[in-house]
């Protein structure tokens, strides 16, 4: 049942994405409202489905939070992206960002639903995952990832806008974007949210590892890649206050940071081996 709703949600996010792009093109407030309503509907349906899946796992007698394999994490990833996006849209009234952020949520859901290598059944937890740390670790990591996804979307917008401003362009689509200053601020803000969350995610992971395996850091590929991501965003935070590194360079770092996030999240499980093998199936 839950997987059925999730596949509908995938299409809702696709529709939201299309309408947001439509808003980018036509700039009619009504279109933006429609996009928001569609996104919100998808988000609510997804929330219900996540709750349902959680409930169904208890029906199966192997009850656990729906965050234990690749399918569930992809669903959760898109859910956090949309949640954070809706918050930012509400707070900063920047519907224009939707076109750059909803694709991440859609792609994540599409990958979960379509890829044959992603097993969508509810599976029992292996012993290492049976812990209260699971929820706090996964939730903080994914909230961080979502913030970085949004910041990556904004960084692209920023670079486009900045180039446009630098060549003193007038008119056209880019004229309607928020100023590069606002976008730059937003890149920083989303990273300022993501970075502490990533830090908490790494710390809870370390605490859990210490509790389960007796070592808080073992340079396992997943751990190392999360640290690589942390280094890149730390570099971003310092670049932003350093002459010669501000602006496009810093925004590029934020995009590279998100590539590292994606590799930490998916690449490590698909391409490398290590302790976090459960995320791959």
């Amino acid at each position: 049942m839950n997987t059925y709703i999730f596949s509908i949600v995938t299409f809702i996010y696709l529709a939201a994405m299309v309408v947001y792009v439509g808003y980018l093109a036509f700039r009619k407030p009504l279109v933006a409202r429609l996009a928001t309503v569609i996104t919100l509907a998808g988000f609510l349906a997804q929330t219900v489905a996540i709750g349902l899946r959680w409930y169904e796992s208890y029906e199966l007698g192997i009850g656990h939070a729906p965050m234990s394999n690749l399918y569930e994490s992809l669903v959760f990833f898109s859910w956090t992206i949309i949640m954070l996006y809706l918050y930012i849209e509400y707070k900063y009234k920047l519907s224009i960002l939707g076109a750059f952020v909803t694709p991440f949520a859609f792609l994540s859901m599409a990958y979960a639903s379509i890829s044959p290598s992603v097993n969508e059944t509810i599976q029992p937890l292996v012993p290492a995952l049976q812990s209260n740390w699971l929820i706090s670790h996964v939730v903080t990591c994914f909230l961080g990832y979502a913030a970085f996804a949004v910041s990556c979307g904004v960084s692209f917008t920023y670079i486009l806008k900045k180039r446009y401003e630098d060549r003193q362009g007038a008119g056209g689509l880019l004229a309607t974007f928020p100023t590069s200053q606002i976008l730059d601020e937003l890149v920083y803000k989303t990273i300022a949210i993501g970075f502490p969350l990533l830090t908490i995610g790494i710390v809870t992971g370390a605490a859990w590892a210490n509790y389960a395996w007796g070592t808080y850091w073992s340079w396992d590929p997943k751990e190392t890649w999360s640290l690589i991501t942390w280094f890149i965003y730390a570099a971003f935070l310092h670049a932003r206050i350093t002459r010669g590194w501000r602006g496009v360079k810093a925004a590029t770092l934020s995009i590279i940071g998100f590539v590292a996030v994606l590799f930490t999240y998916l690449g490590v499980n698909l391409l490398l081996s290590g302790l976090h093998s459960y995320g791959g199936g």
Partner: protein
Amino acid sequence: MTDKKEINKKGSLGSGVAAFFSSLKLTIFLLITLALVSIIGTVIPQNMLRDDYLKVYKESTYATLKAVGFLDMYHSWWFVLILALLTINLIACSWKHFPRTWRFFSHPTRLLDKTLEKASVPALVWRRSWKVMPDDPANLLPRLEGLWSGNWQWSKKEGVNGSEFHYVAEKGRWSRLGVYFVHLSILVIFAGGIIGSLFGIKGFANIPEGEKVTSFYTYGDQRTLVELGFSVECRDFAVEFYESGGPKEYSSDLIIYDNGKPVKEKIIEVNHPISYKGFTFYQSSYGSYGGIVDLELNFRDTGLVLPLKLEVGRPLRLPENWGWIEVLKFEENYMRMGPSVMVLRDPGKGVKPYQFWVFLRFPKFGEENGKTSEFCTFKNIEQLFYTGLQVNKDPGVWVVWIGCIMMILGLYIAFFMSHRRLWLRLAYDADNPKRLQLVLVGNANKNQPSFELEFKEWAEKIKTWD
């Protein structure tokens, strides 16, 4: 993370070395370098045995990788060097910028003079004047204070230059220390890591069910035996499986004896370790080390069936002159035939000893395939398990946790709290002593747009005052 303006001022630090080590460009360079080189160790498997590497790499490649430290890169001299440089950079940077931050505490700007007024962000400067001031400007103060209630810290200076009134309000001054707190936390975490690597011990202990250990072996090339100073008994080991076949839970019932007395007992599982006197025991693996096998020895000529209980690896002398028998080993799933045992049979009487497999799931196998005068049937096995424990002592781990908590708090302060200041000057116009001028200037070191909105609201309110 500190004020942009402050960092951009080229510091006139004495030596070039100090300037180099305290530069933010070095920070960015080191962080990006760390990110890049760290990738190596996620692509090349770390700390494997030589033989395992040689399955993947040529001998010469292996030698090269080992020489440059790529096979244990996170402990290589050059990786540690980058971390050391980052540490020096972090200390130097903090050292350089701290005095400027400290000025906000030691010499807070009290007066709104022309310089400050000019240097401020235009959006955070607001002026108005009253044509005829009805009474004493000091009467405005309670109204102003009413605007900035809550956490705002007020102070005032009256009668500066004879007639000016100055008011200062600020909020969240200490948030400027957040970044230093984060930097300090990194040093604390490093310290915890170093304590752990100097004084920590990691090893493993395999305890067969019903037995005790008083020591364990460390990991690594040179395994050393570490005495615990107490003993650990594994009273029972159990493993449960899901219907799908995956392991659901494995647990060991452990009892710790100190001075011969039981002092602690716990059934440990993955994620539920037991600690005693600084050592922590984690359920990490398990294995079977044989068992008690029920075999039947059938003599074809007489039809005699001899039931036997055999411990794996222990030969048994049979009665009469029937020779010897031994179960050599047990396999969970030999040749996909399910549980199997290898038997060594020495019938004596000049017959050469021979060995063969028998299978629990195929009881007729021996009868149908054996060409000898006797055959064996595998009836049952009671497996004996040992529990595999990871043993760990890390006196630095608490330091690491303190560092982590400091970092999280510091990041929160650094990102989400800002130092906001307001200055206000009330003064009579020099040309027109009846005209009272008010100048309001604001400053926020972070999140300026939202502060601008607040600032606007205050300005709008003051605008309405007569």
